[in-house]
Subunit: 414 residues, 2 copies
């Protein structure tokens, strides 16, 4: 049984949210290991000591983070020494780890840093490949206590580089663990669960995790077993069953972002794009240009907040704006075509809508959006309605627009 303990006054005051506990728990869960309890205490010596002494009865592994830094309020090593009745002493492996990091950073080691190499006698140092403070492991009372620094990057490196494999080895888990991630957009978590109900192969060694992050849901398939090929095959079967049922909503089997998928498709066609954004205000182009190398296909974009900008930059006639309103099918169509033509790109993408909180009418309430895509052959326009906060309307619209573009690029948009 595994417990986690996170240490630091900044956690208890709510100043820092504890991301280490959930990162470690997830890394362990993906390796088939489950955590029974988390606790957090402050930097008070007595509280740390008490937490180390009051484990659940069956705990065999405790992973603690925090309190290993160079300053006076970092007291974890001291608390551990007191708990396990040993002395603190300079640990040679820890000194070497520290010297190596300072060399890499091209800095000389300040004297105060040496404190980080003072560890309980008889402990085993855990290498920190990205930071100066080593971790350490102590075996006592039938339990292994593993202490890591609190910096998230260091915790990530040490958990994936040592902790997970170590615990698996100690537990005699010699199996393979493989996983695949399917990223979906267009269905909420509960709907996916409902659709998959009864459609998945009965494979006890394969599990499915749901990770919703507005406005999408990632599915992670994890399989374990002693035969690598067998595990791969089982994950494959699972993946195929999911594909068969909700394939049209899966946009990546590769853990890519939507903008990466769209970018990859544009790059593969050596095509270029121009975006005309109204209600999204630049968010679509911001996402497209987050991808390294996107300058190869993003030629330019227009944020056309005013009607005058729509007329001047995209040649949307004033009469159409007057007759149908800026948020309308004809305007979205002309915006997409106008962006494509003005920029001389292969594709033009447009959005025009009402992000709120004001500006809604009974006919066009907040959340009404039209998305247009102009290609060399045709122009398609779709109306969507997603009522929500301004922020969420922008996010949902950008995602819908990128997904629609993805389908068009794949020749799958009907």
């Amino acid at each position: 049984m595994i417990e986690l303990l996170t240490i630091g006054d900044e956690l208890l005051s709510g100043r820092t949210a504890d991301t280490n506990a959930s990162f470690i728990a997830r890394a362990l869960a993906e390796a088939g290991l489950s955590v029974r309890r988390f606790s957090s205490v402050g930097d008070c010596l007595e509280d740390i000591r008490r937490a180390l002494s009051n484990l659940l009865p069956d705990t065999r592994f405790l992973i603690a983070t925090g309190g290993l830094g160079p300053t006076d309020d970092d007291r974890t090593a001291q608390a551990a020494a007191r708990t396990f009745g040993c002395e603190l002493t300079v640990h040679e492996a820890a000194v070497k780890n520290m010297e190596a990091r300072y060399r890499e950073f091209g800095r000389t080691m300040p004297a105060a840093a040496k404190k980080q190499a003072v560890l309980p006698e008889g402990c085993q140092a855990i290498e920190n490949p990205v930071g100066t403070a080593c971790g350490f492991l102590i075996r006592s009372r039938g339990c292994q206590f593993m202490f890591l620094p609190g910096v998230p990057e260091e915790v990530h490196a040490m958990v994936t580089g040592f902790i997970v494999d170590h615990i698996r080895g100690e537990c005699g888990m010699r199996q393979f663990i493989l996983s695949a991630t399917l990223k979906t957009f267009g269905l909420w978590e509960s709907k996916i669960q409902e659709l998959l109900n009864g459609c998945l192969p009965d494979l006890p060694s394969v599990s499915l995790g749901f990770y919703p992050a507005f406005p999408e849901v990632s599915l992670k398939i994890t399989g374990t077993g002693t035969d690598e090929q067998q595990v791969k095959k089982q994950i494959q079967r699972f993946q195929e069953a999911i594909q068969k049922r909700i394939g049209e909503y899966i946009y990546s089997e590769n853990n890519e972002l939507m903008e990466e998928v769209v970018g990859r498709l544009l790059a593969a066609q050596t095509a270029t794009i121009a975006v005309a954004e109204s209600c999204t205000g630049g968010l679509i182009t911001h996402r497209l240009t987050n991808v390294p190398g996107s300058s190869a296909y993003v030629e330019r974009s227009f944020v056309v907040y005013s009607n005058r900008a729509k007329q001047e930059l995209l040649a949307v006639p004033e009469a159409v704006l007057k007759e149908h309103g800026a948020v309308s099918e004809p305007v979205a169509r002309l915006m997409a075509e106008g962006a494509r033509k003005a920029a001389g790109t292969v594709y033009g993408l447009s959005v025009t809508g009402i992000a709120g909180p004001d500006g809604g009418t009974p006919e066009k309430p907040v959340g009404t959006v039209f998305i247009g895509i102009a290609t060399p052959d045709t122009t398609v326009v779709k109306k969507i309605f997603y009522p929500g906060t301004r922020e969420k309307v922008k996010m949902m619209t950008a995602q819908m627009a990128l997904n629609m573009l993805r389908l068009v690029l794949l020749g799958k948009y009907a």
Copy 2:
């Protein structure tokens, strides 16, 4: 002494990060109350019961979240009843709370939902103003156990609406607690600490909290006392001392976002703006248009990723691009002036830079950015250098550009 307990399998598997604990801890800290320990356990009846039974010796208040929903794996009420040796019974106040919420949402109450009103006998219901599941309070063994649902919005509402005041009342804290937030940009946390060192008035009832969130740092001044006017005055004195020392880095005393401050200044001048973005790829305009009502001053923007776009939309001469390169002082200047002229706005803002990871050269490494602002009177250009990931270069550049615009609008840009 206060402890927090968060309940849910989704926490222990790392599927959901626990934001409730840090929210509650922060709300309590700001009210002068400190938390001694957090724990998290899964939805297992026995683990919840054990957690409720094994408090720290001095704990007088335990706040638990999670496990109050309508499904079978929500077991907190049952665990509480077992721990405190009482029966579960339908609680009338909880039924009323539930009916009120369903009425508000315009939905009829499903039969399964009734489970949420089944609470330990003799408990006091805690109203949930935004959700269907009531909380409840039980007094036992010298401690008050307060149970809340796990949905963050509901936790926020119940903690600020009941928990904080209740605990303060029970502790006999009748003081006023007031606070002020100063948002700063341009200094890292450690530098602010260094600058403020020895410059703050010696007022033990006033505390200063640092909340860094890349690329800025918020400072929260919290004061307590029995005389409201006195507390206000003390906070004021603190605030003035900070202003005096680092005033030029404070962009809001009002907890506004940078884009809100800039928007307010533009609206106050009834001025309009057009942005020409290269390396930020739309992020600046995305942020400006996140503010409700921004259509009053954001006329249009240009994302000019290609040199051709810079020429066609902003009239940057090809010769200047060739001679100085797209990332240069003259191009930033011409972009800002071109955006202002093309859009017919009062102001033009431009950025051109190298966001990376590719495209850097020895003379212009990744992170080199020029920001330009054209006003009716003049054009100013600033060179910045912030090496970092593509994402951070974009974020830092957008923030620098908005801050520079803020200073220009205030007539403070030197």
